[in-house]
């Protein structure tokens, strides 16, 4: 079996978002593999660890620095990586076109991708890729098992969760609840250096961009920061209730 994991390099969630002249500026910020995508990598590795004959291929589409993210994934244990290099920021719909073509070329059986992108806050990549490949999809998967050609597991839906079963090939979008992503260990990092990281150019995929980002802004709401010391609980509580009732007027 061959698994494709779609990887995106994003701003570490703990970092401050910097906006310069109306654009998000990642320069100098800590960038990481999107945590949601890491769950997919981990899941792929677990399937391989369980004894199934699996090759795990990671794909990233983006600027050169994405290779750092791919190295991380190789260091976690992926077998090889493909980097489609471009300075263009692709939204999920054109991005899925690249992912689908690579999946086809590589004869992929199972695709993992994060349930939500932590930079574009989008849920669309997995579904759009599945559509292009005419594959079934299951999103927000929090538990997964492979039995031969069948995948079973649990996933979140609007008002709860469901147990599902689907035949390969398929697309799965991942999230917390699946196994915690492993750290690259020193020996794996050393080994990863020798693994294949193939670089492709974007032009061969014929994507066309239909969305334009005009500008970005952070409006942090100014907060009052009236923090009381709770050593004297009744007094602090009384003061808080008084503030919420008469100053903020938010409770009856």
């Amino acid at each position: 079996m061959r698994i494709l994991t779609l990887i995106r390099q994003v701003l570490d969630a703990e970092e401050t978002v910097h906006i310069r002249s109306g654009e998000i500026d990642l320069n100098g910020s800590k960038l990481v593999v999107d945590t949601m995508d890491e769950y997919g990598v981990e899941q792929a590795l677990r399937i391989r660890d369980s004894g199934v004959d699996v090759e795990v291929v990671a794909l990233a589409v983006g600027p050169e620095r994405n290779q750092e993210a791919l190295r991380t994934v190789l260091s976690m244990g992926a077998d090889r990586a493909i980097h489609v290099m471009t300075e263009l920021a692709l939204d999920p719909i054109p991005l899925s076109k690249v992912a689908a073509q690579i999946a086809q070329q590589e004869r992929i059986d199972l695709i993992f991708c994060g349930g939500q992108q932590s930079d574009w806050d989008s849920h669309a990549l997995g579904a759009a890729t599945a559509e292009r490949l005419q594959l079934p999809q299951v999103t927000w998967v929090s538990a997964l098992e492979v039995h031969g050609q069948t995948l079973t597991g649990r996933h979140d839906v609007d008002d709860g969760s469901e147990m599902f079963s689907v035949q390969l090939p398929a697309v799965i979008t991942t999230q917390q609840g699946l196994g915690e992503p492993r750290y690259p260990t020193v020996p794996n990092i050393i080994r990863a250096k020798k693994k294949e990281l193939r670089i492709e150019t974007l032009d061969q995929f014929h994507v066309d961009l239909k969305l334009n980002v005009l500008g970005a802004a952070v409006q942090a709401k100014a907060r009052l920061h009236k923090i009381l010391d709770g050593k004297d609980a009744p007094a602090a509580a009384a003061e808080l209730v008084e503030l919420l009732r008469n100053e903020a007027r938010v409770i009856p």
Binding site: T16, G28, S29, S75, P184, T185, V186, K193
Partner: protein
């Protein structure tokens, strides 16, 4: 495995920074890290922030099961096997990598000390001096973190004066065991260790080291010390009473144990330097984040100049420290890359190459521990009253940093080593210090020379650096003229010279690194300018101190004229620089090189 960047680098001899000038491409900097090094750094950061940090409260409460668990996890990640040879489950990697790990793990002082006592002074003696059998028996277990190691040299009556230990070893009647008696003090990891490297004198004379497993009859771990800082790291006395150690557990040669004891310290010192950088960055981050949230007089306190000054001063110190640490350790790697890897005694070769940089190692230890102290102090200060209570990490960082000036050789002892080592090398003719001093003297006596024209953004800083070198050589010359070899007993002068020597290395590292960055970080330029101003004052003050003590009357006046001539310069606008640095750091919420 090592970084190709260091393999290409020119090899420099230890101490030569005082008399030679290097070009930016001759030094290693953090910007030169290889992919592999960056990945290992990332793993360490993730481990420290996601595994260690949430457990800090438990660690500080001396829950040793947590500490052992974390050490084990670090071992599973391979973080403890960087210096370990491949045949014993290690990776035998470069020293920059192990320094990066030391730096990134240093977000919690207690854990950092436990970790480095284990991988450094705990494990290295075995790697360097162990027989194949000894390594076979213990090394893999130490490298994986399954076992914890400790190093027991100090005693109640001999810390700095380590040659004077009283613990005795005698060969048993049947010749199968050494029997040890004595008491060790301040042993890091004692309460959790499985293997101790214990130093003793055989028959009260021959200095020797022994590998002793915990649980050996006659070995007792005393009660935990109640410490000012690093409270979560175990520190206890060891009592050896009729402790029978199998003869095959003698480590290295009898009579040469002090080599083991001291050679290990070079590594401990440069790693301490790296760890201090990590501690400083961490403290800086929480300080700046606090400051930008804290409102006083209806403004975030980061808008106040004197708060900005603390932030900028700390940041510039960290920048200089980073430049220093990775330059020196990179140079060690460059030197190690040249070693004869086929030599029968590979580890002896490694030691020889590290020992070459003993003076740099001591500089890292002293300078970085003092930089750290300045940073944690300023970060506590900008917390105001909240810095003084346990709810905020500033208080712990302040307490935890203090040990760094004490162990691995006190900063006084290391200052004496710095100047003393340079003098010794000069006497042995291994370092061309004397001709260099002569040249400076000649140049100075020839009267004022016009300032050398130099291009580039850091021309003024280069000028300060060149003069700092000259002034150091001039003062060293004046001091040795007066005291000759008796200078070693003039500790205050040795100390002042050490301060000058240190600043030369630090300032040069920061300038060269900034130039090597080729404008990619405007912030680095601001910081090196800020740091140069401060550094040069240190040199000037130390110079005055030396001159004031070695001459009087006309002689003193002449020399002070020379000092004035060498120190004359227009000050940078450090107020404006500081504001700009602080603004960038505040926006980033941590130490950064990118505006």
């Amino acid at each position: 495995m090592s970084n190709p960047a260091t393999e290409k680098m020119r090899r420099v001899t230890g101490g030569s920074f005082l008399i030679e000038d290097l070009a930016p491409e001759d030094i290693f900097t953090l910007e030169d890290l290889s992919d592999v090094q960056r990945q290992i750094e990332r793993t360490t950061i993730d481990f420290a922030e996601k595994q260690v940090q949430p457990q800090i409260a438990a660690i500080e409460a001396k829950d040793f099961s947590v500490m052992k668990g974390l050490l084990r996890k670090a071992g599973d990640l391979g973080l403890m096997a960087i210096d370990v040879p491949q045949e014993y489950g290690g990776f035998d990697m470069d020293k920059v990598t192990s320094a990066l790990i030391a730096e990134k793990i240093a977000i919690c002082g207690s854990f950092s000390v436990a970790f480095s006592a284990h991988v450094g002074i705990g494990t290295l003696p075995l790697i360097w001096y162990g027989t194949a059998q000894q390594k076979e028996k213990y090394l893999a277990r130490l490298a994986s973190g399954e076992w914890v190691a400790a190093y027991a040299l100090s005693e109640a009556s001999s810390g700095s004066d380590a040659m004077n230990i009283r613990t005795r070893a005698t060969l048993s009647a049947d010749g199968k065991h050494y029997v040890l008696d004595g008491e060790k003090m301040w042993i890091s990891n004692a309460g959790i260790a499985n293997l101790f490297t214990v130093f003793a004198k055989i028959d009260g004379e021959k200095f020797a080291a022994f590998l002793i497993e915990s649980g050996t009859a006659g070995l007792t771990v005393g009660p935990e010390e109640h410490k000012l800082g690093i409270r979560g790291s175990s520190t206890c006395p060891l009592i050896l009473a009729d402790c029978h150690v199998p003869k095959e557990n003698l480590l290295g040669e009898a009579g040469k144990g002090h080599h083991i004891a001291f050679n290990i310290l070079n590594v401990g010192r440069y790693k301490l330097g790296a760890a201090a950088i990590g501690g400083a960055k961490y403290s800086f981050r929480s300080g700046v984040r606090y400051a930008r949230e804290r409102i006083a007089f209806s403004k975030p306190i980061t808008s106040f100049g004197l708060v900005q000054q603390m932030i900028a001063d700390s940041a510039a110190g960290i920048f200089a420290g980073e430049s220093l640490v990775y330059r020196v350790i990179g140079a060690i790697d460059a030197s190690l890359a040249e070693r004869d890897k086929t030599a029968a005694n590979n580890t002896a070769e490694i030691q020889k190459h590290i020992e070459e940089y003993a003076v740099e190692c001591s500089i890292l230890k002293v300078w970085c521990s003092e930089m750290l102290e300045r940073v944690v102090d300023q970060m506590l200060q900008l917390h105001g009253g909240y810095g003084y209570v346990e709810e905020y990490p500033a208080e712990r960082a302040y307490r935890d940093s203090r040990i760094n000036r004490i162990f691995e050789g006190t900063n006084e002892i290391n200052r004496l080593i710095i100047t003393g080592w340079m003098m010794k090398r000069a006497m042995q003719g291994r370092l061309a210090l004397l001709p260099a001093i002569q040249r400076v003297m000649d140049e100075i006596m020839a009267g004022p020379t016009p300032r050398e024209e130099r291009e580039g953004e850091l021309a003024d800083q280069h000028f300060l650096l060149a003069n700092a070198k000259k002034l150091s050589l001039f003062c060293a010359g004046a001091a040795s003229q007066k005291f000759g070899s008796g200078l070693v007993d003039e500790q205050e002068i040795m100390g002042a010279l050490a301060d000058m020597i240190m600043e030369v290395l630090v300032l040069e590292s920061a300038i060269l690194r900034t130039e090597k960055m080729q404008g990619s970080s405007p912030l680095a330029v601001l910081m090196v300018k800020c740091y140069a101003a401060r550094s040069f004052r240190v040199v000037e003050t130390a110079g005055e101190r030396v001159l004031g003590a070695v001459a009087e009357g006309d002689m003193l006046r002449t020399r002070m004229t020379i000092l004035r001539r060498l120190t004359k310069h227009e000050p940078e606008n450090t107020v404006a620089l500081g504001r700009e640095i602080a603004t960038a750091m505040t926006a980033a919420g941590r130490y950064t090189l990118q505006i």
